[in-house]
């Protein structure tokens, strides 16, 4: 049974080469964080990846299963269906339903529920070896509520998220999954000049907006961090850019994309 689990997982290497600085990513066990302000295209990118996964091989997809955990009730099924319809050569109801059959959606309303849900999902991963991708949109949704519930102790505030990170790691390891999680830019970047001189390493321009606020356990889990931003220079309001950082190897790459009716296009 253990072997069946390991053998059954397809590789996600060709998922979206434009998103990664190097070839051959993502591999299972990778944790990719999408970070950016609202309206920067993170959710669209997720739809793009989900579509790539659930489409049949004949439609240019990987034919694998996706588990989508939605913590802010943001998931728009109709939008995903529109994207699928555009990508399939002949999109019949039957085919759409077949694709959607590979997608599982869960809504969580609190960090505690998220934690408990992750435990119960273990069973799902065991019985569905086709599930390769885990998406968490977004992992920062409960930040303020947790902070308020935790009172004065930072430890208490971060407790749930820390436990979630631990169990996520376990799931990724045991079931050979890849995790894509989004975090929202909700902190103001400090305009204090003193902080500038302390800033560790000067990464690229848009990185100045990134202030890590989630717990250390999560920060350490992330293998790739991808920053999303809107391109404000051109008159075209549909242009976005991503900066992809491979944390371990310190490779950085910048790409741009547009969002059309059929989804993300590089």
């Amino acid at each position: 049974k253990l072997l069946a689990r390991l053998e059954g997982r397809t590789s996600l290497k060709d998922l979206e080469p434009y998103l990664f600085a190097e070839e051959g990513f993502p591999v299972h066990g990778d944790v990719i964080e999408f970070h950016g302000p609202e309206g920067a295209g993170k959710t669209e990118m997720l739809y793009h990846l989900v579509a790539r996964c659930i489409l049949p091989k004949s439609g240019g997809g990987l034919e694998v299963g996706v588990m989508f955990i939605d913590t802010d009730y943001h998931f728009d099924m109709l939008r995903l269906v529109t994207i699928l319809e555009h990508r399939l050569a002949q999109s019949t109801e039957e085919m759409i339903k077949q694709c959607l059959g590979r997608l599982f959606l869960v809504n969580c309303s609190s960090s505690t529920q998220l934690l408990l849900t992750l435990y119960s999902l273990e069973n799902m991963f065991c019985t569905h070896p086709s599930l390769c991708l885990l998406v968490l949109d977004s992992i920062s949704a409960f930040y303020w509520i947790d902070r308020s519930n935790g009172g004065e102790s930072l430890n208490l505030q971060e407790m749930n998220l820390k436990k979630c990170a631990e169990i996520l790691e376990k799931l990724l390891r045991e079931y050979h999954l890849t995790l894509f999680a989004t975090t929202q830019t909700i902190m103001q970047k400090s305009t204090n000049s003193a902080e500038h001189s302390f800033s560790p390493k000067p990464l690229h321009e848009t990185d100045a907006d990134y202030r890590p606020y989630l717990c250390k356990s999560w920060q350490q889990m992330v293998t790739h961090r991808i920053f999303f931003s809107k391109q404000s220079n051109s008159g075209n309001s549909k242009a976005f850019s991503v900066i992809s950082c491979d944390i371990k190897k310190k490779h950085v790459v910048k790409r741009s994309f547009t969002i059309a009716e059929c989804g993300v296009q590089f």
Binding site: P37, E38, G39, T43, I54, M67, D72, Y73, H74, D76, M77, L78, R79, V81, T82, I96, K97, Q98, C99, L100, G101, R102, L103, F104, L105, V106, N107, C108, S109, T112, Q113, L115, L116, T117, Y119, S120, L121, M124, W144, I145, R147, S148, N149, K163, I167, Q184, T185, I186, M187, Q188, S237, K238, I259
Partner: protein
């Protein structure tokens, strides 16, 4: 609940050794706890079927606005209307209410936190839509429910009441409720923000969560109004209430008044799409607001 979490995350074999229950019994308990407290994954295909039958698109009563929004308000979503004071937010809300209760025979819940809602204004709108006096009066009476809420707790309370009545499916008084309008959400949240406490933000996010859950679970179209601010003196307009709130609505509309030189006493209202899950942003349409009535701008009236 923390006890549940501890139990679920502990090593059951360990626990079995320490207390007198058998391992099997503990596994069974764990399963029951998880079944009760965790969320259940739904299959995409099933969800799609459900959505196809439960999602509705509601007209706003303003044809140009409907076009901007790709046919109208989608149920299951939260839409935000932002604009400076006097830009017409309340008018648009009233138009939506009038259109829903008269044209579509739907029920409407209007949460008013600014005191801007008056039955007479709504009546005027209804008058514009239909000649039938009887129909107007009965529409108002039976289908539009108004609650005045002046702080966040009253608002959360009103939403909880709504949730209770919808869950019990008490159809007699609320009927097929499809639209919830909140004018304005910034009025109740502003007092909470500022300073370093995170309780205010937590309350705001709790309200946000409740609105989205209501919209999703009961297939409602939720519309909220908000103020605008600028980053700096000449920067672009952005919605008030900060970054965390900006992620909440799926659609955002900006209402502005523009001075129009050739019209006598003319200010023109312009609506632009600032955020949408399905349309490209930046499109603008004109709305005509005059005599307390919002109409589509027709070429015949220009001089």
């Amino acid at each position: 609940v923390s006890a549940v979490v501890d139990f679920v995350s502990s090593d059951l074999e360990d626990v079995a050794q320490k207390c007198s229950l058998s391992y099997k019994a503990l596994v069974a308990v764990r399963r029951v706890l998880l079944a009760q407290f965790s969320a259940f994954p739904a299959n995409g295909a099933d969800l799609y079927e459900e959505l196809k039958s439960s999602t509705a698109i509601l007209s706003t009563g303003i044809p140009s606005l409907d076009k901007l929004l790709d046919s109208g308000l989608y149920t299951g979503e939260v839409m935000e209307i932002m604009g400076a004071p006097g830009s017409g937010k309340t008018q648009v809300c009233l138009s939506i209410a009038a259109s829903a209760c008269l044209g579509l025979k739907q029920h409407v819940l209007f949460l008013d936190s600014t005191g801007g809602f008056t039955a007479s204004r709504l009546h005027q709108m209804l008058q514009a839509e239909t000649e039938d006096e009887e129909e107007q009066a009965s529409s108002l009476r039976s289908r539009v429910q108004v609650a005045r809420v002046f702080n966040i707790y009253e608002m959360l309370g009103a939403l909880q009441e709504l949730r209770d009545s919808l869950s019990q499916q008490v159809m007699s008084c609320t009927g097929p409720l499809k639209v919830v309008l909140i004018d304005s959400v910034s009025a109740v949240i502003y007092p909470l923000l500022g300073g370093k406490q995170s309780e205010g933000l937590a309350l705001m996010m709790q309200l946000a969560r409740e609105l989205k859950m209501l919209a999703r679970e009961f297939s409602l179209a939720v519309v909220v109004t908000n103020q605008v601010t600028r980053d700096s003196g000449a920067g672009p307009l952005k919605p008030a209430l900060g970054r965390s709130w900006s992620f909440v609505p799926s659609t955002r509309l900006l209402l502005e008044s523009k001075e129009v030189a050739w019209e006598k006493g003319g200010t023109q209202r312009v609506a632009s799409l600032a955020k949408s899950p399905r349309q490209p942003t930046g499109i603008q349409v004109e709305l005509d607001i005059g005599n307390g009535d919002v109409q589509d701008r027709s070429p015949a009236t220009t001089t």
